[in-house]
């Protein structure tokens, strides 16, 4: 997609937002001979337009980042269908023009946490041209408790700042020890965790230790700074039986509750999901490997469900996505579905609930 086309799309999505976006503001500012600093701080304002624009004092640069998630690679080489899908996603991201500022990998790179799987994944994912940030999923973790993953990709919990937005990456797949007492082997532990419909499965948590870290990390951040959190599991409670669930979600939401613009982007659910809880907007990520069915209950009201994918088309209902940040730090989310039209969930639609109707394309 050309830069002009994408900017047009973005403009369409933004048109009902109050105030001007940064680009328009700069245009106006230049036209009226007023100078703005990089942070949007207005040094001189006399016209009405510019007084209104002063609201974006803490505004950020608009930019785009991409994500790829849930590839579930098996140690069966680059010809296996899941490996081919990840390669396809990497190629698609690299073909974006202009290139996204960075790429977030959403977890579950491997299927059974094996070194061979993670090595294959590392090799393929290293092909993305933009900067890459990694997040961990339960399939990466429970064979060796994240040993190889950490060796390859570093800490699973960290934060970084990019163009005025504070990004946080969490390991949200922490579960209580179910393996020591029955003396499970590492593979038994992994298979127990890998089964989505495991009736004995344990709920994911962020855990006390990370909550403490998060609280500490956020303490240095201005409340007007937009926050984007990446978590593998949704940071809310959708359907416990399939672990579409984070057991201490409310505690994490509470830590984020004082910030003005908060977005959580999660993997694990392999489907389009939209939710809003108080100040937090939630978006799901597509899997490159396969789509999960929607849970029988708990689907958030704002979610427009994808039609059931065609099992005869291995790429249907799978894909990757991009996230366009807005000047106020909220985001427009685009699901890039292979073999379907893109599905755009704009912040305007989420905040007003308008326009969230299934279209002919998905």
């Amino acid at each position: 997609m050309s830069i002009r086309k994408r900017k047009q799309d973005r403009k369409t999505e933004n048109e009902s937002l109050s105030g001007l976006n940064r680009r328009e503001f700069l245009k106006t500012a230049i036209a009226t001979g007023v100078f703005a600093t990089g942070s949007g701080l207005i040094t001189s304002c006399s016209s009405q337009t510019l007084v209104r624009q002063a609201e974006v004092k803490y505004g950020t640069d608009e930019f785009t980042f991409a994500y790829i998630s849930d590839s579930h690679l098996l140690a069966r080489g680059r010809e296996h269908r899941f490996a081919k899908s990840l390669i396809k996603a990497v190629e698609d991201v690299n073909a974006l023009e202009p290139q996204p500022d960075f790429v977030l990998y959403g977890g579950d790179l491997a299927q059974l946490g094996l070194k061979e799987e993670l090595s294959l994944g590392k090799e393929i994912i290293a092909g993305v041209k933009p900067k890459l940030y990694m997040m961990v999923g339960e399939h990466d973790w429970y064979f060796d408790m994240g040993e190889v993953w950490r060796e390859y990709f570093g800490k699973p919990t960290y934060s970084f700042d990019h163009k005025g937005i504070h990004f946080i990456v969490l390991n949200s797949v922490v579960v209580e020890d179910y393996w020591s007492k029955p003396k499970m082997t590492p593979m038994e532990r992994m298979l127990f965790m890998a089964q989505l419909d495991n009736p004995k499965g344990r709920p994911f948590t962020v855990g006390k230790e990370q909550c403490k870290w998060l609280s500490n990390d956020l303490s240095a951040i201005n409340k007007n700074t937009p926050i984007i959190v990446f978590s593998h599991s949704p940071l809310y409670k959708l359907y416990k039986a399939w672990n579409f669930w984070t057991d201490d979600a409310e505690e994490v939401q509470e830590l984020l509750s004082t910030f003005k613009a908060v977005t959580v982007i999660h993997g694990h659910t392999h489907q389009a999901l939209t939710n809003k809880i108080r100040n937090i907007t939630f978006h799901g990520m597509m899997s490159t490997a396969w789509p999960w069915p929607y849970a029988p209950e708990g689907i958030p009201k704002l979610t427009v469900q994808m039609d059931r994918p065609d099992p005869f088309n291995q790429f249907d209902g799978t894909g990757w996505g991009i996230v366009d940040t807005l000047h106020d730090g909220n985001v427009n989310k685009t699901y890039k579905l292979w073999d379907r039209n893109p599905m755009i969930v704009s912040y305007d639609k989420v905040s007003t609930g308008r326009g969230l109707v299934p279209g002919p394309s998905y």
């Binding site: 098996l74 069966r76 296996h80 269908r81 299927q111 089964q195 989505l196 419909d197 039986a241 399939w242 396969w290 789509p291 999960w292 069915p293 029988p296 059931r308 065609d310 099992p311 005869f312 291995q314």
Partner: protein, 238 residues
């Protein structure tokens, strides 16, 4: 159907006649026995069918006392239903207050049925109610088949590439077994559930398809159908 209907109407007429005339004699279709005093001195009337094998004991009415029309109809309906089981000797008891009817089949102890419509179920096994032991054995056998299916459904060795059924179908969701047989547009022929199971084994799982009488196929079907039983149908979503 017609015969039953005629017989039913005949019985109604006879019982109505009986109710109208306390002194009516026995007739060819229905025999009213003498007063039976039960141990609790409860008053009962006994209505016996013409074959002599079916009896309805009506509690709360003395022998010879006219029954109200509604009660008479109830007795007639029950007796008509019992007449459908020619070989069996059945005694039915209509309690005065309870809704359930008590049935004794071929001299066995009385069992409760709440509706006459349950009769075929009660009588299908020779009129003998299932024992708890039998029920447990049958449930265990059924569950064994379903459990085998569950294991195969979650086992990647059904295919060759590490993919198992549950990876796309947790709790057998999106398998919708109730919709088969149907014309499968992608394969351009009518398909049964087992055809689609085989399609999945051969395609996403890159395995070898199972024959229709393969115990693994039967177990998979048993698991899928049992898992989806009672799930709400959502037309248009499959």
């Amino acid at each position: 159907m017609k015969t039953t209907h005629k017989m039913f109407m005949g019985l109604i007429a006879i019982l109505m006649m009986y109710a109208a005339s306390v002194n009516a004699d026995n007739n060819s279709a229905t025999n009213v026995s003498n007063v039976i005093q039960q141990s609790n001195e409860q008053s009962v009337q006994i209505v016996t069918a013409c074959d002599g094998k079916k009896k309805v004991i009506v509690e709360g009415y003395k022998e010879g006392e006219p029954m109200p029309e509604q009660k008479a109809r109830e007795v007639a309906k029950l007796l008509t239903a019992l007449m459908g089981y020619c070989e069996e000797e059945i005694t039915a008891k209509i309690p005065e207050t309870e809704i359930a009817i008590q049935l004794s089949i071929n001299g066995d102890p009385f069992i409760s049925v709440t509706a006459i419509e349950e009769l075929p179920l009660v009588l299908v096994h020779g009129g003998k109610p299932h024992t708890e032991r039998e029920k447990r054995i049958w449930a265990a056998e059924l569950n064994r088949m379903i459990d085998t299916g569950y294991k195969i459904f979650h086992d990647p060795t059904l295919g060759t590439n590490g993919i198992s059924c549950d990876m796309c179908h947790p709790n057998a969701s999106n398998t919708h077994p109730e919709t088969y047989p149907k014309f499968q547009t992608q394969t351009k022929k009518a398909a049964l559930l087992r055809d689609m199971i085989n399609w999945c084994i051969e395609n996403p799982q890159e395995g070898k398809k199972l024959s229709d009488d393969d115990p693994r196929m039967k177990a998979l079907e048993a698991y899928i159908i049992s898992e989806r039983t009672g799930v709400i149908l959502e037309p248009g979503k499959h």
